[in-house]
Amino acid sequence: MSGVATFLTRRRGGRGWHWTDVVSWLWLAGGLVIMFGPAVWLLGSSFKTPAQLAEFPPTILPYVSQQATVEGHDKPLTLYRVKLPDGSTKVLAEVRRIGIVAQMVDPKAPNEIVKVNIANREPVREIGLATENYTEPFVHFDFLRYLRNSVFVTAMATLITLLTNSMAAFALSKYRFRGRDLTMLLIVGTLMVPLSVILVPLYSVVSAVGLLDSLWGVILPTVATPTGVFLLRQYMLTIPDELLDAARMDNASEWQIYWRIVLPLAAPALAVLAIFSVVWRWNDFLWPLVVLSRKELYTLQVGLNTYAGQLNVQWHYILAMTVVTMIPVVLVFVFLQRYITSGIAGTGLK
């Protein structure tokens, strides 16, 4: 604990608070809140009941109202802390509510009804998790099918992305040919074209080749990423050409040079691209929504959308399932983040 305190109050030079210490502390603390706040709120809210989600002001932690079984009543009654006219407070159970007046009983004296203005009471609550937000969808919602579709799309798309992008990057970094730089420029230039612009033409193409309503229709249009080609190319430029020459002297074919020399050496950059690709494809929503119309082909993100009906949004399920769908992405980051820093740092060098 003291270690944490020392860490949090660490200062420049170790003595006194310089104004830069204050600024950086505030900056970092603010950043922490901005970055982590939504995630924490999401996690907390995913355990809330629908009623509590609709509550204002919202709370960060999920609570459940305490209930008590009172003699003479079949169902458990909700407990409230009531401010009585004489100024004292007492815990009472609500029997029924009429307008702004609630009829309440003392659980210890169940026969005596007390009428209370609802402004003078607040529910007795404790932190509690509405775990049915998580368990219910597994039973009623086709979670496992959607999960399988998502995993398939993510895994295939990532594999094909790595293969095709690294081949393009290899050619663009290790071969000299007319129009090479122009090709590179065009590829990077496509970064400026957002999906929404090409959505309709892309749909026509996918429809024309008969990939509509198929998972391959989701996978194939996304695999060629300019970011990936650029990232890998920049990294491959750092692999010395002498290695390739040595391999050529060693009777290696161009494919072997790519497969056995360049790919293993580009592993850090490939790891970065793999992480990116997993995150992108896992979180894809718009494109799968456009391509897929049969429910059994839905990916998780599209499947989640079924909780948002026209009239009624089941926030508690959406939030809970959002947390579940985030887990793989978070795991990928936790275990592979060191590659991200080393890989990205390495791509700038030539």
């Binding site: 002498e242 290695l243 020459d245 040595a246 050529r248 002297m249 060693d250 009777n251 290696a252």
Partner: protein, 362 residues
């Protein structure tokens, strides 16, 4: 067999010509050293021979077969790169095996060759290490080992010693010479270090700006450099070059006058030099002797004397700003700023005409 013949080789990158009309014949089992200042095209020439690059004109033959259009892999040559170019993600053993696996050699034979090469080059203890865990000298030996296991027609070595420290360079140089003797395979060796060239070569090829300046045995190059460039390049410290004027020229002798009253009659057969022509006199620092001031000596002013023990390197100027370096086999030499008398023996002098070509004597 490993006879390599280059005929009229040209190489240009766009409009810039790197190699001009190179003709060279490398005999079987020969150690040929390509030497020249950086940018002279020697590495380019090696890459052309290796097949990593194609000439824009000319023909390359190995053992009489035209290989100009043959890929690097099919030429049966092995190359050692300046940076060693070991595959960093493979162990030493895998590095050695890579080329053999690619030609689908049986595993037993690969193992036998690796064991043999490892024994010969003393790299057996690190066969399972990665190149990153090796020192410079060990990497160097692995790089040579990778060439040796291929059992090539010829070895191409591109400045293999330039990344080693001075001490290691000398010992590895000796090992390379021993290796060449043992394997008796043709080696083409590129370096910019004339000492390496002199010690290793059967024949040296001196190159400058994409042209061959002279080809010959090391001592021939030292004793009879074909032109001013070779004269200045081969030998350390460099040959002293002094401006001179032809006084008279006969069929067998040229009489020249240099700065500071220097005068010499140099043997030359059938020269086109005429009295009054500009020429350059060359004399190696080791050929200069200290004189007692008698006739025929020149007076110089010492600018720096470096006492090395067995010899003293004297930097001096004669007649104003003509610099001269002399290596004298003695320790009692005048120090800075003092006048000194030096003898420049005419029989040790080299004479170059105004185009830089040597006036041949004998």
């Amino acid at each position: 067999m490993g006879r390599i013949t280059l005929t009229d080789i040209d190489r240009a990158y766009g409009k810039i010509k790197i190699l001009h009309n190179i003709n060279l014949d490398v005999g079987d089992g020969e150690m040929l050293v390509l030497v020249g200042p950086s940018g002279c095209g020697k590495s380019t020439l090696l890459r052309l021979i290796a097949g990593l690059d194609r000439p824009t004109g000319g023909k390359i033959e190995i053992d009489g077969a035209d290989v100009t259009e043959v890929s690097a892999a099919r030429r049966g040559l092995a190359m050692v790169f300046q940076s060693y170019a070991l595959y960093p993600h493979m162990s030493v053993r895998q590095n050695l095996a890579f080329g053999l696996e690619n030609i689908r050699m049986p595993k037993a034979e690969i193992d036998a060759r690796i064991t043999e090469a490892a024994r010969m080059l003393d790299i057996a203890p690190y066969l399972d290490r990665r190149p990153g865990q090796l020192s410079g000298g060990q990497k160097q030996r692995v790089a040579i080992g990778r060439a040796v296991v291929r059992n090539p027609t010829a070895f191409l070595l591109d400045e293999p010693l330039s990344n080693l420290d001075a001490e290691l360079r000398i010992s590895t140089r000796a090992e390379l010479a021993a290796l060449h003797k043992r394997l008796a395979t043709t080696m083409i060796y590129v370096t910019h270090d004339q000492v390496e060239a002199m010690t290793l070569a059967d024949r040296i090829v001196v190159m400058r700006s994409g042209r061959i300046e002279q080809v010959g045995r090391p001592l021939d190059l030292y004793n009879a450099p074909a032109n001013l460039f070779v004269a200045g390049f081969i030998g350390a410290p460099r040959m002293n070059l002094l401006p001179a004027k032809v006084r008279s020229a006969s069929g067998t002798q040229v009489h020249v006058e240099g700065p500071g009253g220097l005068s010499a009659a140099i043997a030359a057969d059938g020269t086109a030099l005429k009295p009054g022509d500009e020429a350059t006199l060359g004399i190696r620092p080791h050929d200069i002797e200290l004189s007692d001031g008698s006739k025929g000596s020149v007076e110089a002013r010492v600018t720096l004397a470096e006492a090395l023990g067995p010899e003293t390197v004297v930097h001096a100027t004669i007649a104003g700003d003509n610099r001269l370096v002399a290596v004298l086999k003695r320790q009692d030499v005048q120090t800075q700023g003092q006048p000194i008398n030096l003898t420049l023996p005419p029989e040790r002098m080299h004479l170059f005409d105004s185009t830089g070509l040597r006036i041949a004597s004998r």
